[in-house]
Amino acid sequence: MESMNVIVCVKQIPDPATPGALGADNTLKRDGKLILDESDSYGVEMALQLVDAAGGGEVSLVSMAPNGEVSGMRTALAMGAAKGMLVSDPALQGSDALTTAKVLAAAINKLGGADLIIAATESSDGYTGTVPEQIAEVLGLPSVTFAKKVVITGGTLNVNRQTEAGYDEVTCPLPAVISVTAGVVEPRYPSFKGIMAAKNKPLETVTASDLGVTPVGWAGAGQSIVSVTQAEARAAGEIIEDDGEGYAKIVAFLENLKVI
């Protein structure tokens, strides 16, 4: 391909380095400054590399976040994405995965679609891991999940798809939706020039109604978070003194776990 346009779905999340807080409905509070989800930085990098390899085209972003928040999108723009569309609408607060997928799919359509749509396998704060496949379904496009290597040859997508046993080699026509695993590529640092340029790159903010999506919010999500409890502290590990036979104990331990 001589030119390739890629849209990356990026989530902006509360900084995991600072303690998160829950609202009355047990959902994560997202009213402060949000950052680019690290798991999406791999998708942005992958998109930039694919466009580079194609020799033309551009990377666009779509995101859904409250309060018109674009800090995380600016990071992706600083890395090299050309433009972005943010969907920000109080009526979307508490949206479930399917509504999120419908909104993002509508935003992708409003941007005119793309040759390839990339998302992370799952976000670092919600972990539903279902949005990319739902976007593909809404858009009527093929979907390849858990991509650990992506190459485009002659308009065909070639993916090494991570499995428990190794990987599958999958081919698929474009346009398509893929979800990429962390570590698929090494996300670049934004250059200083890129950071300064990012503030002037186009970022359009739209609402659900601009996209023709009916927001159902938390009330229509068909789910509720009944309670949240602290994760159990990990139990202390077993310490084995190596008396020369330590390796045998380790082998036995791993065999017991059925990992070897």
Partner: protein, 404 residues
């Protein structure tokens, strides 16, 4: 300017991540293993496009000079861009201030000396590679017998020899001296006249020139990641093309060039001090929360609170000075030497006091290398000594006041 802009914060975040990934894992080798800092600094320059930006800026300046019409026209000063060079300084100083010393002397001091008074050909020949960190520079003024009295006691000489010069002398405490590719050598023109009447000249030397010896790194109290050495010149023969400005009649001799360099150096020290103070304060606050004695966290004791509060006051003051520098630069104003001296004096003292108090707050742990404030306290001390001692800064400030 009352706070970092969003862009500057993004730059800080990116630089911080680079330092976490590329510098922290090597701190032990940089501080105690004689690993020169240059490859990591070059990687930082390449990663953030600092080399390309510096090169482009230089090329534009040279193009203007060559056009002739606007030789004096400086690069337009640019709003948010003004803090970009100070941010890596601040962030690196939180971990490895010596790296900033090495970087600042090379791409700052040495290139500035050539850019201030050099001919266009000399700038192209030497300054571009220094600005992009392709080559490493050293700026050699201090001698075994001349420190604060840099010009008065200077013994290094240049003697005319046909159309060129023969250089002799020795320099010490020269940052990057052991590894420099390009050295600016400051000396006096010996015309047989008394030393106090001699003109000060600056020459550019390349590594490996006959008669020019660069020593191994000297052992010192702190700033271990900044290689410091001695230089020895024994009848080093140079052409006129290496005399900065290619004239012996640079206005006010070489003194003006050196003073411009002093000013820039002093402003940079405030940013270094800010990095050290921020890190010491952050580590101290955490330690005050974690460390329990007499059944309470030590942060609950008023004597510890006093230390933390004083550190915060120092942080705010030094940050304001740095913000002022950025703001002035963004509108194209330059600081007077006395202002730069006042800023350097305050910041250097504040950094040393904060770092030593951080050691005290950490108690026995603070005296151990593992707790990092030990290194920062050793590093901070030199801020009161190099780039003009505290005493020299005081003299400059007072003279300026009394001249008004």
């Amino acid at each position: 300017m009352i706070d970092w802009t969003d862009e500057q914060q993004m730059v800080r975040g990116a630089v911080k991540r680079f330092i976490d990934e590329e510098v922290r894992p090597h701190v032990e080798e940089l501080e105690h293993g004689d690993l020169p800092p240059y490859d990591i600094l070059r990687k930082m320059f390449a990663t953030f496009g600092m080399d390309a930006m510096a090169g482009d800026r230089f090329d534009r300046q040279i193009a203007r000079e060559q056009a002739g019409t606007a030789a004096e026209q400086k690069e337009p000063k640019g709003g948010d861009g003004s803090g970009l060079t100070l941010i890596p300084t601040i962030e690196l100083c939180r971990v490895c201030p010596g790296m900033v010393t090495a970087m600042g002397v090379s791409m700052g001091l040495t290139s500035a000396a050539i850019l201030a008074k050099g001919t266009t050909a000399q700038k192209v020949r030497w300054a571009r590679d220094l600005l992009t960190m392709k080559k490493i520079g050293a700026w050699a003024i201090t001698e075994p017998g001349s420190g604060s009295d840099a010009f008065g006691s200077m013994k290094s000489t240049a003697r005319r020899d046909g159309d060129g010069y023969i250089l002799n002398g020795s320099k010490t405490f020269i940052t990057n001296g052991p590894y420099a590719d390009t050295t600016v050598f400051i000396c006096k023109l010996d015309e047989g006249n008394p030393p106090e009447q001699r003109k000060v000249l600056s020459f550019v030397l390349d590594r490996g020139m006959p008669g020019f010896v660069q020593s191994k790194p000297l052992r010192k109290m702190g700033m271990h990641s900044s290689p410091t050495g001695e230089l020895f010149l024994d009848d080093v023969r140079v052409g006129r093309d290496r005399l900065i400005g290619e004239t012996e009649d640079v206005s006010s001799g070489g003194r003006d060039g050196a003073k411009t360099t002093f000013m820039q150096e002093r402003a940079g020290v405030a940013a270094m001090a800010l990095g050290i103070i921020e890190e010491c304060l952050e580590l101290s606050v955490q330690y005050a929360k974690d460390r329990v004695q007499f059944g309470k966290r030590i942060g609950d004791f008023q004597l510890i609170q006093d230390k933390l509060a004083r550190m915060e006051v120092a942080r705010m003051n030094v940050q304001n000075l740095v913000f002022r520098t950025i703001e002035m630069s963004s509108i194209g104003h330059s600081m007077t030497l006395a202002e730069a001296s006042a800023m350097k004096l305050y910041s250097a003292r504040a950094a040393t006091e904060v770092a030593l108090e951080a050691v005290q707050l950490h108690g026995g742990n603070g005296y151990m290398s593992e707790f990092r404030v030990e290194q920062l306290a050793r590093d901070a001390k030199v801020l009161q000594i190099y780039a003009g001692t505290d005493e020299i800064q005081i003299t400059h400030i007072a003279k300026d006041l009394l001249r008004r």
